[in-house]
C-alpha cells in the first residue's frame, strides 16, 4: 500500500510502551521509517527495550521519568530529531491538547492520529452523543454533559430510574461514569437510588485522582448487551472513511475490561440470533461511517456500540485512536486481495499524509479472528492482578497465530505494577467460527505461562477463563 509520493525519511517517536511500542517499531521498519522509543525505570526489562536496541541501535532508546510527561517527550523528540509522534493507545492518544501541541509548537511535528480538532470533537463523550443525536444515530439514554453538581446528578439519576420504570423495567439500574475515563475505568452501577450519593462521591473521588476531572456521566444501564465495535480508517482528507468490519468485545472481566475480541461482531452463518444480526452489523457500520464523514475523521478510530438483546444498537463512544484489539480486524481483512493487513502501518502511512489509496469495495473480510488478552490475574478473585516473576513463557508457532507481547521468552521477567496488566495478545484465525474456536483452544492448551510471586505462590492467569469463554463466543 506504499505510495511513491510519500516522504521517505521520517523518524517517529513512540510515546508508549509494551506490545504496542513493539508493533509500532515493526510498522516503522516495514514502511522504511526510523523510530525513537522510550522507557521508564520499571520497564527496563521489557522486550520493547530489547527490540528497540536491536532494530534501531542504542541511540533509538531513551529513558524518561514518565510516559505521561509531555514536555519530556518533546525534549527527547527534539534531541533525537524525531519528525512525528505516535502516541500508541495511551492517554495522549485521545488528548487533543497534546495533539494540538505536537503540530503547533515551534519545532512542529506530525501527530500520528486524528487531527486535534477531530479528537476534541469526538474524544469528548458528550460532543459525540450530541453529534450522534443530530445525525439520527441512536445513543444510550442519559446525561449529555459532564455533571459536577451533586443535586443535578441526583435529579438526572432519579429521572433515569423513573424513565426505566415507565418502560416496564422492573429493576432499573443506572451507570455512573467518570466523563474523562475510558477503557472501562471509573464506572459503577447503581440499582438503588438511596445508594446513588455514595457511588457518586466514590466515582468523583476516583476521577479526580486518576483524571484530575471530577465530571461524571449518568446513563441507563442496559443489561445482557453485547459490546460491538466498528473499525474505521480514513486519510487526512477526512472525506473517504472506510470500515474494516465489526468486532465483538463482550467477553470482559468484572471491571468491564475486555478479555476476548472476535471479528466479525456476529456470525449469523453459524449461530441463531433473536434479531437480524446481519442488519445490525450493517446498521452500525453505516452509522459509524455517517458520523466519521460528518466529523471529517482523518485517521484510525473505533466506534463502540452496545447492542441490546432485541438487536437495538446504541452508540456508546468513539475512541479516537488505534485500539488494543485492532489486530483482530486486520487479521480477517484483505485490501485489493492482499492479506496480512497491518492497521498500525496504515495509521502511520495516512497519518504522515499519504492518501488512503483504496475504497470500501477494495476491502474484503474473510473468516473469523479471535484475540485473547493473556493476563496474570485471578478470575476467581474478582480478576485481581497477580504480581510476581514470570519464569517461563512460550507457545508453538502456527501459521494461523500471531502473538504480540512485551514479555521476553528467553529470560525471567518481573511484571511491573505501574501499568495495565496485559501480558500478551494472541490473535487466532480460522476459516469459520468453528475452526477459529478449535484453534483458539489448541493455542490456549499449548501456551506455557509459569511464574512465582514473592510469597512463593504460583502464577495465576486467565487462561482457563479464556478457554471456558471460547465455547460461547458470539452466541447472544
Amino acid at each position: 500500500m506504499k505510495n511513491s509520493s510519500e516522504p521517505k525519511h521520517h523518524k517517529i517517536l513512540i510515546a508508549n510502551r509494551g506490545e504496542i511500542a513493539i508493533r509500532i517499531m515493526q510498522a516503522c521498519r516495514k514502511l522504511g521509517h526510523a523510530f525513537v522509543a522510550l522507557f521508564t525505570e520499571p520497564d527496563r526489562h521489557s522486550e520493547h527495550c530489547v527490540l528497540a536496541r536491536k532494530l534501531g541501535g542504542e541511540d533509538s532508546l531513551y529513558r524518561v521519568s514518565s510516559y505521561l510527561d509531555a514536555n519530556e517527550i518533546f525534549a527527547v523528540a527534539d534531541q533525537a530529531g524525531a519528525t512525528a509522534i505516535h502516541p500508541g493507545y495511551g492517554f495522549f492518544a485521545e488528548d487533543y491538547r497534546f495533539a494540538r501541541r505536537v503540530v503547533q509548537r515551534e519545532r512542529k511535528l506530525i501527530f500520528i492520529g486524528p487531527s486535534w480538532q477531530v479528537i476534541r470533537e469526538l474524544g469528548d463523550k458528550i460532543n459525540t452523543k450530541r453529534l450522534a443525536r443530530k445525525l439520527g444515530v441512536p445513543t444510550v439514554p442519559g446525561s449529555d454533559k459532564p455533571v459536577t453538581d451533586d443535586l443535578e446528578a441526583e435529579h438526572i439519576a432519579k429521572s433515569l430510574f423513573d424513565f426505566q420504570k415507565e418502560q416496564g423495567i422492573n429493576n432499573p439500574v443506572i451507570l455512573v461514569k467518570a466523563s474523562a475515563g475510558g477503557g472501562g475505568m471509573g464506572i459503577e452501577e447503581v440499582a438503588d437510588l438511596d445508594k446513588f450519593r455514595s457511588t457518586l462521591r466514590r466515582i468523583k473521588n476516583y476521577a479526580k485522582r486518576q483524571f484530575r476531572d471530577e465530571g461524571v456521566l449518568i446513563e441507563q444501564r442496559i443489561f445482557d448487551f453485547n459490546h460491538l465495535e466498528v473499525q474505521v480508517v480514513s486519510d487526512r482528507t477526512g472525506q473517504n472513511p472506510v470500515h474494516f468490519g465489526t468486532r465483538n468485545c463482550s467477553v470482559q472481566s468484572l471491571g468491564h475490561q475486555k478479555r476476548i475480541e472476535v471479528a466479525p461482531g456476529f456470525d449469523p452463518s453459524s449461530l441463531r440470533y433473536a434479531f437480524d444480526a446481519r442488519k445490525v452489523l450493517e446498521d452500525i457500520t453505516e452509522y459509524s461511517l455517517r458520523m466519521a464523514r460528518e466529523a471529517g475523521y482523518d485517521n484510525v478510530g473505533t466506534w463502540e456500540w452496545i447492542v441490546s438483546p432485541t438487536g437495538q444498537p446504541f452508540l456508546m463512544e468513539v475512541n479516537t485512536r488505534i485500539q488494543v484489539e485492532n489486530g483482530v480486524s486486520a487479521r480477517i481483512a484483505t485490501i485489493k486481495g492482499k492479506g496480512d493487513v497491518d492497521l498500525i502501518a496504515e495509521q502511520i502511512r495516512v497519518g504522515l499524509g499519504a492518501p488512503l489509496g483504496y475504497s470500501q469495495k477494495d476491502i474484503a473480510l474473510n473468516g473469523v479472528g479471535i484475540e485473547y488478552r493473556i493476563i496474570a490475574e485471578d478470575p476467581d478473585n474478582k480478576f485481581a492482578p497477580w504480581v510476581g516473576r514470570i519464569t517461563s513463557f512460550g507457545w508453538p508457532e502456527q501459521e494461523w497465530l500471531k502473538l504480540h507481547s512485551q514479555v521476553p521468552t528467553d529470560r525471567e521477567y518481573e511484571i511491573p505494577t505501574d501499568f495495565d496488566p496485559n501480558l500478551a495478545l494472541a490473535i487466532i484465525w480460522g476459516k469459520d467460527l468453528a475452526e477459529a474456536k478449535a484453534r483458539g483452544v489448541e493455542f490456549l492448551n499449548a501456551l506455557k505461562l509459569e511464574g512465582v510471586n514473592a510469597s512463593g505462590e504460583a502464577l495465576k492467569s486467565n487462561i482457563d477463563f479464556l478457554r471456558r469463554k471460547t465455547e460461547t463466543i458470539l452466541a447472544f
Partner: protein, 216 residues
C-alpha cells in the same frame, strides 16, 4: 524497649547521609554548583517556600527547571555528565553529603520504635478520603487506627482495591509515603504508636533533642 543509647552510637559513627541527585526527567543540564566541597543549603522558610541552593538547571521544551539542593550539606562528587549535555531521566548528576539533623535522627529512631504497617504490595497508596481529610486538616496524630480498619486505597495496574490496617491500635505517629508515589512492597506506610506507649515515645524524642549535636 528500644536501646536509644546504642542507636545514637551507631548514628554518630556515620552522622551523614549521601544524597544522590539524579535528573528528574530528560533534558539539557546546565550546572550551577559544580565543584566538590561547595556548601549547599536545603529548602527554608516556615513552609519550606524558600528553595535550596540552585545546583543545576534542566531544560526541556524551552523551560528551565531548577534542581535545588534537597538538604543542607556539601557537594561530594559529580556524576559523569558535562555541562550542556542532554541527560536521560534518572542519570546521576552529583552526590551531596548531608549531616543529619535532630529531626532526622528522631525519624530514624522512631522508625525502629513505632509499629510499622508495611505495604502489602507494590503500588500507589492513598488514605481513604475521610482519613485523608482529617490528616490534612488536623494532622496524622489525630487519627486513631484499629486492627482490621479499612485505611488505604491501593492503586496499581489501573485498578483500585481497599487495604485494611493490621496491627496494634493506636495513633498514626508518622506517615512514610507521599501521594502519587509508587511504594515498594514491604516499605513502611505508617508508624503507629499505641496510646499506652505515647509517653515513652515522647521521652525518646526529648532525649534525642537534648543529646544530638547538629553539625553545620
Amino acid at each position: 524497649m528500644i536501646d536509644v543509647k546504642e542507636l545514637l552510637r551507631e548514628l554518630r559513627e556515620e552522622p551523614y547521609e549521601k544524597i544522590v541527585i539524579r535528573a528528574p526527567h530528560s533534558g539539557k543540564v546546565e550546572f550551577v554548583a559544580s565543584e566538590p566541597g561547595v556548601r549547599v543549603v536545603g529548602p527554608g522558610g516556615t513552609w519550606k517556600e524558600v528553595p535550596g541552593t540552585l545546583l543545576a538547571r534542566l531544560e526541556r521544551e524551552q523551560v528551565k527547571r531548577p534542581i535545588n539542593a534537597p538538604q543542607k550539606g556539601e557537594v561530594m562528587s559529580l556524576g559523569d555528565v558535562q555541562n550542556g549535555q542532554f541527560v536521560q531521566a534518572g542519570q546521576e548528576l552529583m552526590t551531596i553529603r548531608h549531616f543529619l539533623t535532630k529531626e532526622e535522627v528522631i525519624a530514624r529512631i522512631l522508625r525502629r520504635s513505632l509499629s510499622l504497617f508495611l505495604a502489602p504490595e507494590k503500588g500507589k497508596y492513598y488514605f481513604f478520603p475521610e482519613v485523608d481529610i482529617k490528616i490534612k486538616t488536623k494532622g496524622s496524630q489525630t487519627v486513631h487506627v484499629e486492627d482490621g480498619m479499612e485505611l488505604f486505597i491501593l492503586s496499581r495496574m489501573k485498578r483500585e482495591t481497599s487495604v485494611r490496617y493490621t496491627g496494634p491500635g493506636g495513633i498514626i505517629y508518622a506517615v512514610y509515603f507521599e501521594t502519587n508515589d509508587s511504594v515498594d512492597r514491604d516499605a513502611p506506610l505508617i508508624g503507629v504508636c499505641p496510646e499506652s506507649q505515647l509517653g515513652q515515645i515522647q521521652e525518646v524524642v526529648s532525649r534525642i533533642q537534648s543529646e544530638w549535636e547538629e553539625r553545620d
